[in-house]
Amino acid sequence: MGDKILMKGAEVIGEAAVKAGCRLFFGYPITPQNEAPAYMAKRLPEVGGTFVQAESEVAAINMLYGASAAGYRVMTSSSSPGISLMMEGISYCAGSELPVVIVNVMRGGPGLGGIGPSQSDYFQSTKGGGHGDYKMITLAPTNLQEQADLMKTAFDLADQYRIPVMVLSDGLLGQIMEAVEFTFDVDPASLPHKDWAADGRLNREKHLINSLDLDLDGLEHHNEKLQARYRTIEEKETLCEDYHTDDAKVCIVAYGTTARIAKTAVEMLREEGYKVGLFRPITLWPFPVENLKKAVNNPVTESFYVFELNAGQMLEDVQLVVNGQKPIRFFGRMGGNVPSPDEFVKKIKEIY
């Protein structure tokens, strides 16, 4: 602890999980996140943990379901097509109130798509993705330090709310190398025992981990309970960053990889005297609505520009908050293409 280490993004995910007290990893190979399971396959036995290469992503997420039902911190890592296969299991985790951490190193789709960086799974992760009314906390790091820090946040929030949490990375944040400092080192034995876990009913009543309720009122009540929890999360757990938004005439809204490029663009534009800022959601669900509203209500801010690596997905959440009060423009790249800061600078200058 305390030293900066140069690491690859996918390996940061693994080491941060170990330091967050996770000792169980189940996964299936898919590019561009293969370094994460490879790291865990080597690392977990060193700390008494277990790595299993599942026969599919479908099996992997259900192994998470089992290990979480047993009361343990558990995770998987995958990329877009693999995450689609996990959606059934994620819905079951949500229904059975099981804390699990899933990392999606997004690649371009639809279908098999490509292996370049993308943000085209925003809808899938923030709006549910699988069947039923449920939500998944979605955390979007913008650099490897944050990717490390958010792994711990992910496990903590998952346990606190008994909810699936997704760390939404992408092909760039999975593959680049940066210096990272691990500021935490959680001993799994120090974590509180989960008093709901199905771990053998020694000296207590039976525990049941279950998402089935054939009684209509019973299932409605269960849904109401989940929804109440989601409202609490929306109220308490939003994270975001304001970068030069106070005096911004144009406010960029971007997250993850796009935000780090946008930040450079803001710096370049400010050097030339353009008053441009960046609002960066870190939690994509819960979306930082109240914080964005401050930018909407800022009298000097005339318009918003949403940048994403997709055809406009977070754009819809921004539209809901801005609610027609100010113009919103959108620019997105797709297919795994990553724009340069110059492209953003050009876009801003066109409308400034």
Binding site: L24, V52, V58, N62, M63, A69, H207
Partner: protein
């Protein structure tokens, strides 16, 4: 008057909840056998069952030990996660033929070949019960179901799948057996097989599965007695009883 002596009692591992299984269904007998074995092996408070999707999803309320309900076909993967997290616990799945031999084929094959230290109770009645009598991968040739109304045609619908024969080809399993519960003698043999399957887990020998031939009077359109005869006369011809694999030391 002679002194009364208790020679049988209902295992306390079965809950007192009212069962919703159909008359003549053999789930009740199989539930009891599993509970008796777990009780006799002193594993009551050390056991977690993973229940499937199908008729026996209702078993979430029928056992007194900890219970986890899995998605359709995924019970062996869920059990893998549980056992890897808690190697000292007794973990078993209870699955029907639609769950295990159709939608969950990949999960059971790979749990078996990895030699997961779990036990699987596989109840095969050759039909989907909960959804109302559709053709299963195990439905025999000529059997009429909701989705094979003219009788299963091997050319159109393919052949019934024999899971024990398949799984016993793998190196991971320690114990693979097929039994039946259509007569008292076979019920006794089934209990012995179940005990071996749990012993394989306790002794850390490998994956274990007992396939138990069962009935579905409701969806077969037969009374319970004729259903039991059908096992003897039809099912057992295609699904022979016996131990397909039993490693040394078991």
């Amino acid at each position: 008057m002679n002194e009364m002596k208790q020679i049988f009692k209902v295992t306390p591992l079965l809950s007192k909840t009212k069962r919703s299984y159909c008359p003549g269904c053999t789930h009740g007998v199989i539930h009891r056998l599993v509970c008796e074995v777990i009780e006799e092996m002193d594993q009551f408070e050390n056991t977690v069952i993973v229940v499937p999707v199908g008729c026996s999803t209702l078993a979430i309320h029928y056992f007194e030990f900890d219970t986890v309900q899995a998605a359709h076909g995924r019970a062996p993967a869920v059990a893998t996660g549980m056992k890897r997290a808690m190697p000292s616990k007794t973990i078993f799945t209870y699955q029907g033929d639609g769950d295990l031999a159709s939608i969950g084929t990949a999960e059971v094959v790979h749990a078996a070949t990895r030699g997961e230290r779990i036990t699987t109770i596989f109840v095969n009645n050759g039909i989907y019960g909960m959804t109302g009598g559709q053709m299963a991968p195990t439905t025999l040739e000529g059997w009429k179901t909701e989705t094979s109304p003219y009788g299963r045609d091997l050319v159109k619908e393919g052949y019934p799948i024999r899971m024990c024969e398949m799984l016993s080809q793998l190196n991971g399993p320690a114990y693979i057996a097929r039994t039946s519960v259509h007569t008292p003698a076979n019920i006794v043999k089934t209990k012995k097989a179940i005990r071996k399957a749990f012993k394989a887990q306790r002794d850390n020998l490998g994956f274990a599965l007992v396939e138990i031939l069962s009935t579905c009077p409701t969806n077969w359109g037969m009374n319970p007695v004729d259903s039991l005869k059908r096992i003897e006369n039809e099912t057992m011809n295609y699904y022979p009883l016996g131990e397909f694999k039993s490693v040394e030391g078991l």
